[in-house]
C-alpha cells in the first residue's frame, strides 16, 4: 500500500514537472518562431524541443524515484 501511494504521488509530481517543462519548451519554440525564425526550421525545432522534453521527463522520473520520501 505504501509503495502504491508513493508511486501515485511520484506520478503526480512527474506530471506537474512534465507540464512545466512542456510549457517552458513550447514557449521557447513559439518565441523563436515569433522572433523571425522561418517556417522551414519548424520541424527541426520541434524535434529538438521534443528531445529535451523527453530527457527532462526521464530525469525527473529517476530523480523522484530515488529521492522521494517513503510514506
Amino acid at each position: 500500500m505504501d509503495v502504491v501511494l508513493r508511486s501515485i504521488a511520484i506520478i503526480i509530481e512527474v506530471a506537474l514537472l512534465a507540464g512545466i517543462a512542456y510549457c517552458f519548451l513550447q514557449g521557447v519554440k513559439l518565441a523563436v518562431t515569433d522572433m523571425g525564425a522561418g517556417t522551414k526550421y519548424n520541424r527541426a525545432l520541434t524535434m529538438a524541443v521534443a528531445m529535451i522534453f523527453a530527457i527532462v521527463v526521464v530525469f525527473f522520473i529517476a530523480h523522484l524515484t530515488t529521492f522521494y520520501p517513503t510514506v
Binding site: R6, A9, L16, C23, Q26, G36, P69
Partner: protein, 680 residues
C-alpha cells in the same frame, strides 16, 4: 503559548527562511518583467501607430464605465443564450481576482508581522486564495472540457491555447501543494488549518514527508520553486503578448476606445483632401481598426451569428479579423520595426478575397455579438470602397444598380414606374405645389418604384391621412438617400446624392421626416448630419404607435391574421427599435404570441442589406430562404415586417418555399390599414 501559537511559530521557519527569500528574488526580477511588458506592449503599439488617425477621444467617463462593465462584470458574455461560457469565464476571472487579492495581502503580511500569530486578515486572505484557486480550477476545467471534448465549431485551437491551460493548472495546483506540504512538514498537528486552508489541509494527507526536518525544508524549497518559476515565466509570457491572455489588457483597451457614435454611421471620406479611396493596404486602416485585430480573442461568437456564414457563404467574420491580423504580422514581422517586407501579397484579393468582402449584408450581427467591441462592418466597407472607387471591381448586378443610381438617382434599373405613381388617387401633397407641411413623408426608392412595396407607401399615406397629419412628399425631387451606394462602397456617389437631398430639404425648410424604410431612416438620421443635414427623423412604426396611443387613429382591435414579426437589421440592431412594431401588432390584435427563433438583437438578416438586394445569389445559399424556413416553423400566417427590403426578400422566400398561398408577407402599415378599414 497556545497550541495555535506554537504551530505558527513552527511555520515561521518556512515563512522567513524559504518563502521570504523566494519573494525577494521574485521582486528583484520585477524590473525584468516590466521590461518584458514594455517590449510586448510596444510590439503592438508600434503596429497600431502605423494606422491612419481617428478621433476616439472624449466622453471619458462613458468609455471607462463601458470598459469596466465589459472587463469586470463581463456583461457582454453573461447572457442567457451563452450561460456555460459566461459562467466559465466568470469563474476564471472571479477566481483570479480573489486569488490575486489574497496573495497580495499575504505578500505584505510578511512585512507587517501579522503572521505570528496570524491575524484575521492573514487567515481570511489564506482562505480567499484557496477559494480563488478552486474557482479557477473549476472554470479552467469547464474551459478544457468545452474546448477539447465538446469542440464547438466556432473555436479553433492553436498551440499557445493549450499552453495557457497547462500553465494555469500548474501554477494553481503547485500553489496548493506548497501549502499542503508546509502543513504536512509541520511538527505540530494543525489546530484550525482545516477551516482556513481547506484544500491545503486535504493535500497535506496526500504527499509523504521525510523523517528528517532538514530534508523537509529542502522539499519545501523545491515546492516553492516549482510554484514560483512557472508563475514568473507565465507572467513574462503574458507580457510578451504572445499568449491569448493578452486579451486581459488589449480587449479592455479596445472596449475603452469603442465607437460612441450612432451605430449606423460610417466614416465619411473627405474627397478634397484624401489620397486614399477606401483601404487597400493594411496600414491604411485606422489605428483603432488595427487595435481590433489584436483585441480579437477568437471566441467565434461573430462567426456563429453571421447569416452569410450560416448559409454556407465564404464570409466568416472571425476569419476576416484573423486573416487581417496574420497579414499585418506578415507584412511587419520584425518586432519593434516599422519596415514592411518587400513583395507583400494583396490584402483584399489574396489575404481576404473579394468574395468574402461582397458576401457581407452589413447586418451588424457580428458586432452585436462581439464581447470586445470589434468593428467588423466598417473594415469590410472600407475594403469595398477601394474595390468600388479605385479598382472598379464590383459584382456585375451591383454595378447596374450603381449605374442606375448615378443616372436616374434610384437603384431600380428596369422599372418603368415614376416616384409618384404609387400615390395615384391618394391626393398626397407634393412639396413643389404646396410646401406648407408639418412632416415630410420620405417614401424611399423601393416603396416608390417596386410594385409590391408601393402598397406599403399607399397604406402609410392612408394612415397619415386618417390621423389628420399635415404631410407631403418630394415626389420626383426625391433622390435615393444613398444607402445602397454607401454600403456598396461608392462613397462619392453617396455624397453626391446626400448633398443634393440635403439642399432640397433645406430649401423647403424641412424639420421632421417620416420614412417607412429603415435604411433611409438610418442614413437620414445618422449619416446626413455628417454633411450638414440635421433633421428629426422618425420611422413609421414609431410615428404610427404615437398616433395610436394619442387616440388619433380609430382601428379594430381584432384581426383574423396571426402575425409573427421579423426584426429588420437597420431598425433593430442599428437603431434599437424593437418594441414599437410589436406594440402595433398587439394593439390591432394581429400578434400570434410567437417569436421567431432568432429575434430582437439576435434577429437573422433577410439578406437584402449591404447592396444584396441587387446582387445575384447562389440559390443554395440564399439568406431569405433560410429565414423563411424559420417563419414556417412558427405556424403564423403572416410574416410582418417594417422594411421594404425585408418585405421583398420574404416575398421571394415564400415563393421559393412554395408557401405564398398560406403565408403572407405584409408591412405593419398594411396590417394597420386593414384594421382602419375594418373599424370604419
Amino acid at each position: 503559548m497556545s497550541l495555535r501559537e506554537i504551530f505558527w511559530a513552527g511555520q515561521q521557519i518556512y515563512l522567513t527562511e524559504v518563502f521570504l527569500p523566494v519573494i525577494i528574488a521574485v521582486l528583484l526580477f520585477v524590473p525584468l518583467l516590466a521590461a518584458l511588458f514594455l517590449f510586448g506592449f510596444g510590439r503592438h503599439y508600434r503596429l497600431w501607430k502605423l494606422g491612419q488617425p481617428e478621433d476616439r477621444s472624449g466622453q471619458w467617463w462613458d468609455r471607462l464605465r463601458g470598459m469596466l462593465a465589459v472587463a469586470v462584470v463581463n456583461m457582454r458574455i453573461l447572457n442567457r443564450h451563452e450561460l456555460y461560457p459566461g459562467i466559465m469565464h466568470a469563474l476564471i476571472f472571479g477566481g483570479s481576482a480573489v486569488l490575486i487579492l489574497g496573495k497580495i495581502v499575504r505578500l505584505f503580511s510578511y512585512l507587517t508581522g501579522i503572521t505570528v500569530p496570524p491575524q484575521s486578515v492573514y487567515l481570511y486572505a489564506s482562505l480567499a486564495s484557496e477559494i480563488g484557486a478552486v474557482l479557477i480550477l473549476i472554470g479552467g476545467g469547464m474551459a478544457v472540457y468545452r474546448r477539447y471534448i465538446v469542440r464547438p465549431s466556432r473555436l479553433d485551437n492553436k498551440p499557445e491555447d493549450s499552453l495557457v491551460f497547462v500553465w494555469v493548472f500548474i501554477i494553481v495546483l503547485t500553489g496548493l501543494m506548497v501549502k499542503g506540504y508546509r502543513i504536512a512538514a509541520s511538527d505540530m498537528a494543525p489546530v484550525d488549518w482545516a477551516m482556513w486552508s481547506p484544500v491545503g489541509y486535504l493535500l497535506s494527507y496526500v504527499f509523504p514527508t521525510f523523517m528528517i526536518a532538514a530534508r523537509d525544508e529542502i522539499l519545501v524549497w523545491h515546492r516553492a520553486i516549482i510554484h514560483t518559476i512557472p508563475a514568473f515565466v507565465l507572467l513574462g509570457y503574458i507580457w510578451l503578448n504572445r499568449s491569448r491572455l493578452q486579451h486581459i489588457l488589449l480587449s479592455s483597451l479596445n472596449g475603452f476606445f469603442r465607437s460612441l457614435k450612432p451605430k449606423g454611421s460610417l466614416n465619411a471620406i473627405d474627397f478634397e483632401t484624401t489620397e486614399l479611396f477606401g483601404v487597400s493596404n493594411i496600414e491604411e486602416f485606422t489605428w483603432k481598426q488595427l487595435m481590433d485585430l489584436d483585441a480579437c480573442t477568437r471566441c467565434g461568437r461573430c462567426q456563429d451569428v453571421c447569416p452569410a456564414n450560416i448559409s454556407g457563404k465564404a464570409l466568416n467574420p472571425k476569419k476576416v479579423i484573423q486573416d487581417l491580423k496574420d497579414h499585418l504580422y506578415e507584412v511587419y514581422p520584425i518586432p519593434l520595426s516599422r519596415k514592411p517586407i518587400e513583395g507583400r501579397k494583396d490584402m483584399i484579393s489574396e489575404a481576404i478575397t473579394e468574395e468574402v468582402v461582397w458576401d457581407c449584408t452589413t447586418c451588424r450581427a457580428c458586432m452585436e455579438a462581439c464581447p470586445v467591441y470589434i468593428e467588423h462592418v466598417n473594415k469590410i466597407i472600407d475594403m469595398r470602397r477601394n474595390l468600388a472607387m479605385e479598382r472598379s471591381q464590383i459584382p456585375e448586378t451591383a454595378q447596374d444598380a450603381l449605374k442606375s443610381l448615378g443616372a436616374r438617382e434610384h437603384p431600380w434599373r428596369g422599372t418603368t414606374a415614376t416616384r409618384t405613381d404609387w400615390a395615384e388617387g391618394l391626393e398626397v401633397k407634393m412639396l413643389s405645389d404646396d410646401s406648407d407641411i408639418d412632416v415630410l413623408y420620405w417614401v424611399g426608392c423601393t416603396a416608390a418604384l417596386d410594385e409590391r412595396n408601393m402598397k406599403v407607401a399607399a397604406a402609410t399615406a392612408r394612415i397619415l391621412k386618417a390621423a389628420g397629419i399635415n404631410f407631403g412628399m418630394l415626389g420626383i425631387e426625391e433622390s435615393c438617400c444613398g444607402d445602397p451606394a454607401r454600403r456598396m462602397g461608392d462613397e462619392y456617389l453617396f455624397q453626391t446624392l446626400c448633398e443634393k437631398n440635403i439642399g432640397i430639404m433645406k430649401g423647403y425648410e424641412i424639420k421632421k421626416i417620416i420614412t417607412t424604410c429603415p435604411h433611409c431612416y438610418n442614413t437620414l438620421k445618422h449619416e446626413y448630419p455628417q454633411f450638414g443635414g440635421e433633421f428629426e427623423v422618425v420611422h413609421h412604426t414609431q410615428f404610427i404607435l404615437d398616433l395610436m396611443r394619442s387616440g388619433k387613429l380609430k382601428f379594430s382591435r381584432s384581426n383574423a391574421r396571426k402575425a409573427v414579426y421579423h426584426d429588420s437589421c437597420y431598425l433593430g440592431r442599428y437603431n434599437d427599435i424593437y418594441s414599437q412594431p410589436r406594440e402595433i401588432l398587439a394593439a390591432i390584435g394581429a400578434a400570434s404570441g410567437v417569436e421567431l427563433s432568432r429575434h430582437g438583437p439576435r434577429s437573422f438578416c433577410c439578406g437584402g442589406g449591404g447592396g444584396h438586394m441587387w446582387m445575384e445569389e447562389d440559390i443554395e445559399k440564399r439568406l431569405n430562404v433560410k429565414r423563411t424556413e424559420e417563419v414556417i416553423e412558427t405556424g403564423a400566417d403572416v410574416i410582418a415586417t417594417a422594411c421594404p427590403y425585408c418585405l421583398s426578400m420574404f416575398e421571394d422566400g415564400l415563393k421559393a418555399k412554395e408557401v405564398e398561398e398560406t403565408i403572407k408577407a405584409m408591412d405593419l402599415s398594411e396590417l394597420l390599414a386593414e384594421s382602419l378599414d375594418a373599424e370604419s
